[in-house]
């Protein structure tokens, strides 16, 4: 792990309007995430974990504050620039895998590469490699419906890493899996950090999942607190 922060968050605030009421979710949060760090984000439901993850991943906009990822202030980017940045810099792992059901595992993993301008041959090379990393080369022609939950999540991870992004964001990646599958996914994520040097920010409710992380941040009432691993 490199101590240089890859993600720098400064005085980040976000609120939502519900009817006439304004609900503050994040309140002037500041946070640094180092390159190659595996960070778990925990907290009670509605504490703003997913909101913070969405803001770091550039799929939502803060009310105030800045988020710098790899030296780029993503809060200053236009929607088009942000979409381009997401395509090249962020890999997404969702709780419900979010694979496209009518595409095969290969085609799902290939999706982010369609925006890169790579040739068909190069795309195939990248997809083959990503599927090898998640140990699903033999299932590349299967549709999501023909795969187990754990296998679908591994395809989603292959899709997340295929563009070699700077950061991986994972929202409850084991939330929809049985214990064995969850353990496999967490081990895979650990491998991504240790062997490929990826930076992972993971939202989770599961203390067992959080234990795999280097750092655990606990979010409650819009305030962020770092917890030593021993607390969980």
């Amino acid at each position: 792990m490199d101590d240089t922060p890859i993600v720098e968050i400064r005085k980040l605030s976000k609120s939502y309007r519900r009817g006439n009421q304004i609900i503050s979710v994040l309140n002037e949060i500041s946070l640094d995430i180092s390159r190659g760090e595996f960070m778990a984000l925990m907290g009670p439901s509605g504490s703003g974990k997913t909101t913070l993850l969405n803001l770091i991943a550039g799929i939502d906009r803060p009310d105030s504050g800045t988020i710098t990822v790899g030296g780029i202030d993503i809060t200053a980017l236009s929607e088009t620039e942000l979409a381009r940045w997401r395509a090249s810099s962020v890999g997404f792992i969702f709780q419900f895998y979010n694979l496209i059901p009518v595409l095969t595992a290969f085609e799902n993993v290939e999706l982010p590469l369609l925006l890169t301008g790579l040739s068909r041959k190069d795309r195939r090379t990248h997809v083959d490699m990503a599927l090898r990393v998640v140990n699903l080369s033999d299932r590349m022609d299967h549709y999501p419906g023909q795969l187990s939950g754990g296998q679908q999540q591994r395809v989603a991870i292959a899709r997340a890493v295929v563009t070699d992004p700077m950061i991986l964001v994972a929202d409850e990646p084991t939330g929809d899996l049985d214990r064995v599958s969850a353990e496999e996914i967490l081990e895979l994520m650990e491998r991504l950090v240790h062997e490929l040097g990826k930076t992972i920010i993971m939202v989770t409710h599961d203390p067992r999942a959080a234990k795999k992380a280097h750092v655990i941040q606990y979010l409650d009432k819009g305030i962020l607190n770092a917890h030593p691993q021993a607390d969980f």
Binding site: T50, T51, N54, A57, I59, D60, T80, A83, R84, W85, R86, A87, S88, F92, F94, Q95, F96, N98, I100, P101, V102, L103, E107, E110, L111, P112, L114, L115, R159, D176
Partner: protein, 385 residues
Amino acid sequence: MRILKLIFKNAFRHKLRTFLTVLGVTIAILAFGLLRTVISAWYAGVEASSASRLVTRNSVSLIFPLPVSYKEKIRQIEGVKVVSFGSWFGGIYIDEKNFFANYAVEPKTYLQLYPEFVIPEGQKAAFFRDRKSAVAGYKLAAKYGWKIGDMITLKGTIFPGNWDFVLRSIYKGRDETVDETAFFFHWDYLNETLKQKAPGRADQVGFYMIGVTNPNLAADVAAEIDKTFKNSIAETLTETEKSFQLGFISMSEAIVVAIQLVSFVIIIIIMAVVANTMAMTARERIGEYAVFKTLGFGSFYISALIFGESMFVTTIGSAIGIILTFPAAEIFSKKLSTFFPVFNVATETIYMDILASFLVASVAAVFPAWRAVNIRIADGLRRIG
């Protein structure tokens, strides 16, 4: 290529829904095409009319005759090339339901004015020779199984009695716009019979057909003819063949307008059906569109998926509808030949079908695409699970 594959696969995710939508579009395009063809058929006479032909009739009404003696006076007018004449006979073949247009005409000049009636020279000569002979259109002859040499008896309604004719010629149209369901025979045969049975009705014609030397002179010649017979016992009204035909259509204009309206209403209805399908589709896949946006795909790609699917489903339905329009029109043509002697699917109708299909697909996709493009990614992702 991936986007085309995705559009194709998406279109068949709900096979029953897609099948029903395609069926709806097929029926709508078929109905639209047939209704447009009915309108074209209504104007077939106008389309087939020539700019160098004039029609002269009694200025009071078409049902009043003109003296046959006008022929020579008309021929002397400058700009007149050929003068022919005829009378609507209104005969019935066996039964009243067997209606078709039948006229008594002056054969040589009439066929000279209508070169679009193509008759073999031998048959034409036989028709000219025999005063009791008649000519029938190819479709009419085929409908009743008539052959050259057959005796055909028409029961007169305007001119009472049974009238026997020998079929000496069968004409074909020069092109598909020519009516092939007409029947005509020698005016002399009618006139000579009338001289014996009803002398007061003899030596009269229903209309004159005039060929002019130059279409640019048509208006002047028409004015000159009417001027010649002003203050006579039977004043004339002369107009171009096109105006004459339009005059008939104007009597039934309300029906034509109603058919036009119905044809457009059909397109609006199918637009609503396809829009509903696309709205349901987009609503179900809003989470997937959010995933695409998350991965960095822009508005263009998301819109292309929705427009592409709408276009795909509509195009399949339209293509089937257009293909079916031809056999359906053929059936209509056979069943309704009495009312629509020329019932052909015009090229313009196919263009209108394609345009309607494109419009339906585009309009149906606008709102779902707008919604998918504008939904916040975070909101879209919340719909999953």
